[in-house]
């Protein structure tokens, strides 16, 4: 079980959290202005890297806030977590 450090609550066991997919996928302000291909990429295309991955977690059974984490997908080591809206490290 991962030990995840919620930026609001501190380290907590993984079972308090839910996973939220890749972070920093921006929903454009005016979806009508983007092409079909760009919109489809927003909906479905994810980087799925082997290595460093910036991803969203939600402390569902705690403060219920979304935040971001930097996890190495090969080792599961989360090097850092940061609040929603903060600049990614």
């Amino acid at each position: 079980m991962l030990l995840i450090s919620c930026p609001w609550c501190g380290p907590r066991p993984e079972l308090e959290f839910s996973y939220g997919g890749e972070a920093h996928i921006v929903r454009v302000a005016d979806p009508a202005a983007v092409s079909d291909a760009a919109w489809a990429a927003f909906l479905h295309a994810r980087s799925n890297p082997k290595g460093i991955h910036r991803e969203r977690w939600r402390h569902t059974h705690g403060c219920a806030r979304f935040f971001n984490a930097v996890r190495d997908t090969t080792t599961d080591v989360i090097s850092t977590t940061y609040k929603q809206g903060e600049v990614p490290p």
Binding site: A40, R58, V77
Partner: protein, 903 residues
């Protein structure tokens, strides 16, 4: 007493406490402090079981958790038969009953031994090669036969009556293993004032410090898995060693320990040597013999031959000689001696040396060196390196917060001396590598010859290391043989992955209290007892228990549902809708937020009015629906489907927090704060009038607050039946009294089945049935709900993607069977020509099918390609023996003008 192989003095047993036990029904004596293995050896019993594949006689190889051969079933009663217990780990108690496994009809005479003589036909991968044709025979004949012939103990057939508990723990230092290295590490940590947890799989821990608030000692506790972030799983055996455990006490305890530092002091396992006939009872590891002698005061035999490639065996030889055994020979393979055969039926009786000499003996001890127990280190993803000095893989470097000490780190030369081999001394004949899965040196060489190169593939093809002991004694020799066959160095071949658990852990330990009613929470509504009292039949809807229908004496389900439907259409029914998800959306930007989340427009919704809301996923498909009422300019009462409540709130929170943090709005689940009573039918207003101060003439799709039955209430005028209807929300504590008052005024309860029939008659969709995650609002005929002037909402952009805007998509329609009698089944398919060849061109499928009381005939809803353009067409539902003719009609079967609704 105590058998003829027990020494008069010495050992850590208590001769003052004799114990009686049985093995295969025969009584034996042992004493306190014995294990089943030591007590059997003390009685001269070496034949313990039959092997997995060839049914060869097997004895006791080791003195610990690495035992591959001496597996027994421990029987307490019918429900407490624990199979595959390792005899060296089973602590003796008064009256213990043990049974051997995998033989028929008896341990001494086993028909399955024919497999041993047929073994030239049963090489590695034999079932892949042999049992290929005919294909049907695999499931019916070959697999059942193989499974019966090759097996371990049988699982108990009754539910486990014992109790299991679980707990979490945190510590500064977790030390695994209480040998000398572990005790040294733990002592150091205790002296430094750290919070220490020390565990060991043996019954006792001889710690030079006491357990305190900060120091926990866990004996009979196996560290079975090492997980990310220094989490270790421990299985503590609490009562298996007791003669008559108190059934109220837990049998085992699962510990999930998060440690700042983990010290692995798990020691090293002695390696067997691989030579022909190395598996007979009476052949054991040299270190095991030393343990039986020193700890249990048992001589494994009287005339003992020792085969070794390591200095450690000489220590065993000296100790045994001193204790009175005759050492017939010490065959040190490093000096060119070797062993080419063994003999004896149920017990080894002689060995043949490379020189041709035959030596008679009753015991053979072997020592091929030591393999550090790096299982947990490797599970923690630590890197290993091959150490030529000890001929084994050892930890290359500590991990952050995790280090190996003592023999686990390869540090055993000072205690045991040097030496060690890996691979086979002599691979001819039956030279066993994996005793538990009956894998020989030849099998591994064959796998390489047949083209397997990776050690992981060789493992899977030969099954070496895949038994319940996970190859503790086998893997390193298998690696050596594979390396020889591949002409590679051991470090180039590498090890197979170590996986948890280190030794098998019971299902009970993992399940803990999560059994029966505690397996998954059951949610009951505040009106549950009322429904029980009315004799309701319940159905599970997610975690909720909902009243399905309310049969009266002698009524079938169909009778009851028909009566309930008729009551709602002609009189008045009441319905427990408390499971509906409810979310209160509050704040200055509440309307703006809902405008972005739902397809509808809420900015323009007047206070006191409701709107039927549809929520899409961002990909444009309908996720959920529900009625939303505006209680104040900045306060909305949002309802969701029963099953969608958590999903909808999670999605709302996601957008609120991550996409639109600038919106000033709060979301609160109030599902359990409001019980909901639906009152539906032409008499609904008349029944409710005396019970509330709210003016019931409010228009359809309105909401008002006030009192009902003396409790604060939110009253919605809404209908999911097509009749005049209200939904009264009251606090849960008040719900029973309000329900009773409505019943006393003549309303009849109806269940979820009648609710479904009534809504289908009106063509109202169900999220999850008609809206199955691939339907757009237009597919469902709900385009009218979309706010035309809205620039954006979740899912809007996707609706104009080519695939979602294309013509020919499946659309919601109604179906009537032409014979007006046949009821369709959910999920059946629609075709235009029932005589076309299979696979037919499918045009759509049935999503809901019921018998309609109002129409007195079966009805169905369906999703049909281009359905709205196919009104009145005849289609067919192909079944196994016929094709049912159906007519495509509007999905609204009853009161299409909606006049009853506004009554």
């Amino acid at each position: 007493m105590n058998g003829s192989f027990r020494l008069p003095t010495g050992g850590r047993i208590d001769r003052a406490y004799p114990l009686r036990f049985t093995f295969n029904g025969r009584a034996y004596d042992g004493c306190a402090g014995d294990t089943l293995a030591s007590a059997l050896l003390a009685n001269g019993v070496h034949l313990i079981g039959r092997s997995f594949k060839y049914h060869r006689p097997r004895g006791i190889l080791s003195a610990g958790s690495d035992e591959p051969s001496a597996l027994v079933t421990i029987v307490r009663d019918d429900a407490r038969r624990t199979p595959n217990q390792r005899a060296p780990q089973v602590e003796l108690y008064e009256g213990l009953q043990a049974e051997s496994q995998n033989h028929f009809p008896s341990l001494g005479f086993d028909i399955g031994v024919v497999n041993d003589f047929l073994s030239p036909l049963l090489p590695a991968g034999f079932y892949y090669k042999t049992f290929k044709w005919p294909a049907w025979a695999w499931h019916r004949i070959y697999e059942p036969l193989i499974r019966r012939a090759a097996g371990l103990g049988r699982a108990p057939t009754q539910p486990d009556p014992d109790r299991y508990v679980q707990r979490y723990a945190h510590c500064d230092v977790l030390v695994i293993g209480a040998g000398s290295a572990g005790l040294a590490a733990a002592s150091q940590a205790v002296s430094a004032g750290a919070r220490v947890l020390l565990c060991d799989e043996h019954p006792t821990i001889d710690a030079p410090f006491a357990a305190t608030e900060r120091v926990t000692l866990l004996s009979r506790t196996t560290a079975f898995g090492c997980y990310p972030y220094n989490m270790v799983g421990l299985a503590e055996r609490l009562t298996d060693h007791l003669a008559s455990p108190n059934p109220a006490h837990a049998r085992e305890r699962l510990w999930q320990v998060r440690a700042k530092e983990i010290v692995l002091a798990t020691g090293a396992l002695e390696r067997p040597l691989v030579f022909p006939g190395n598996d007979r009872p009476g052949i054991m590891l040299s270190g095991a013999a030393l343990t039986y002698l020193q700890r249990y005061a048992v001589l494994p035999g009287r005339r003992i031959a020792i085969v070794t490639s390591h200095d450690a065996a000489y220590r065993t030889a000296d100790a045994l000689r001193e204790a009175g055994a005759e050492i017939a020979a010490v065959i040190d393979v490093r000096k060119g001696a070797t062993i080419t055969a063994t003999g004896g039926r149920a017990r080894v009786a002689w060995i043949r040396l490379g020189s041709g000499d035959v030596i008679s003996c009753d015991t053979v001890l072997m020592c091929g060196g030591f393999t550090p127990s790096v299982h947990l280190f490797s599970q923690a993803r630590g890197q290993l390196r091959f150490d030529p000095a000890c001929q084994a893989f050892i930890p290359a470097a500590p991990l952050p917060g995790l280090r190996a000490v003592g023999a686990c780190a390869g540090d055993f030369a000072s205690e045991f001396g040097s030496g060690g081999t890996l691979g086979a001394l002599d691979a001819r004949g039956k030279a066993f590598v994996d005793f538990q899965n009956d894998v020989t040196a030849k099998d591994i060489a064959l796998a390489v010859r047949e083209g397997f190169r990776s050690i992981e593939h060789i493992k899977r093809y030969t099954t070496t290391g895949m038994a319940t002991d996970q190859g503790k004694t086998a893997n390193i020799n298998a690696l050596g043989i594979a390396a020889d066959a591949l002409a590679l160095a051991p470090e180039q071949v590498g090890l197979t992955t170590f996986r948890a658990p280190f030794t098998p852990v019971t299902f009970g330990t993992f399940a803990g209290a999560a059994r029966g009613v505690l397996f998954d929470p059951v949610r009951e509504t505040p009106l549950h007892e009322r429904a029980v009292a009315r004799g309701a039949v319940f159905e599970d809807v997610g975690q909720w228990r909902r009243a399905h229908y309310f049969p009266r004496r002698g009524e079938t389900q169909r009778d009851a549902v028909a009566r309930e439907c008729r009551t709602v259409r002609t009189e008045v029914g009441l319905f427990d809708g408390s499971t509906l998800g409810k979310i209160e959306v509050v704040g200055p930007d509440a309307a703006e937020f809902l405008d972005r989340m739902y397809v509808n427009t809420f900015r323009t919704l007047a206070v006191g009015r409701c709107r039927y809301g549809i929520m899409l996923r961002e990909d444009g498909f309908v996720l959920d629906d529900g009625v939303i009422g505006r209680l104040a300019p900045d306060r909305f009462h949002v309802t969701t489907t029963t099953g969608g409540a958590a999903r909808v709130l999670a999605m709302m929170e996601d957008y609120r927090q991550t996409e639109w943090p600038e919106l000033d709005v709060w979301l609160t689940s109030v599902t359990e704060q409001w019980a909901v009573i639906g009152v539906q039918g032409p008499r609904a207003r008349e029944v409710l009038t005396p019970l509330t101060d709210i003016n019931l003439t409010l228009p359809h799709m309105s909401v008002a607050t006030g009192q009902a039955g003396g409790a604060p209430a939110r009253l919605f005028r809404v209908s999911f039946t097509g009749e005049l209807g209200y939904e009264i929300n009251v606090p849960p504590d008040a719900a029973g009294a309000v329900w009773d008052a409505i019943v006393s005024r003549g309303a009849t309860p109806y269940g979820t089945e009648a609710m479904h029939v009534l809504r289908a008659e009106k063509g109202y969709i169900i999220a999850g049935q008609e809206a199955d995650g691939t339907a757009t609002p237009d597919d469902l005929g709900l385009t009218w709900a979309i706010g035309k002037s809205k620039r954006d909402f979740v899912g809007k952009r996707s609706l104009s993607l080519p695939a979602l805007a294309a013509s020919g998509r499946k659309q919601l329609v109604g179906l009537l069977t032409e014979d007006a009698r046949t009821q369709l089944d959910d999920g059946t398919q629609l075709v235009d020509d029932p005589h076309q060849p299979v696979p037919m061109r499918v045009l759509g499928h049935v999503t809901s099918a019921y018998f309609s009381v109002a129409l007195n005939r079966p009805i169905a809803l369906a999703m049909l390609a281009n359905g709205r353009a196919r009104m009145d067409e005849r289609l067919y539902v192909p079944m196994a023996d016929c094709a049912i003719a159906v007519q495509v009609v509007s999905p609204v079967f009853y009161d299409p003008q909606g006049t009853r609704l506004h009554g």
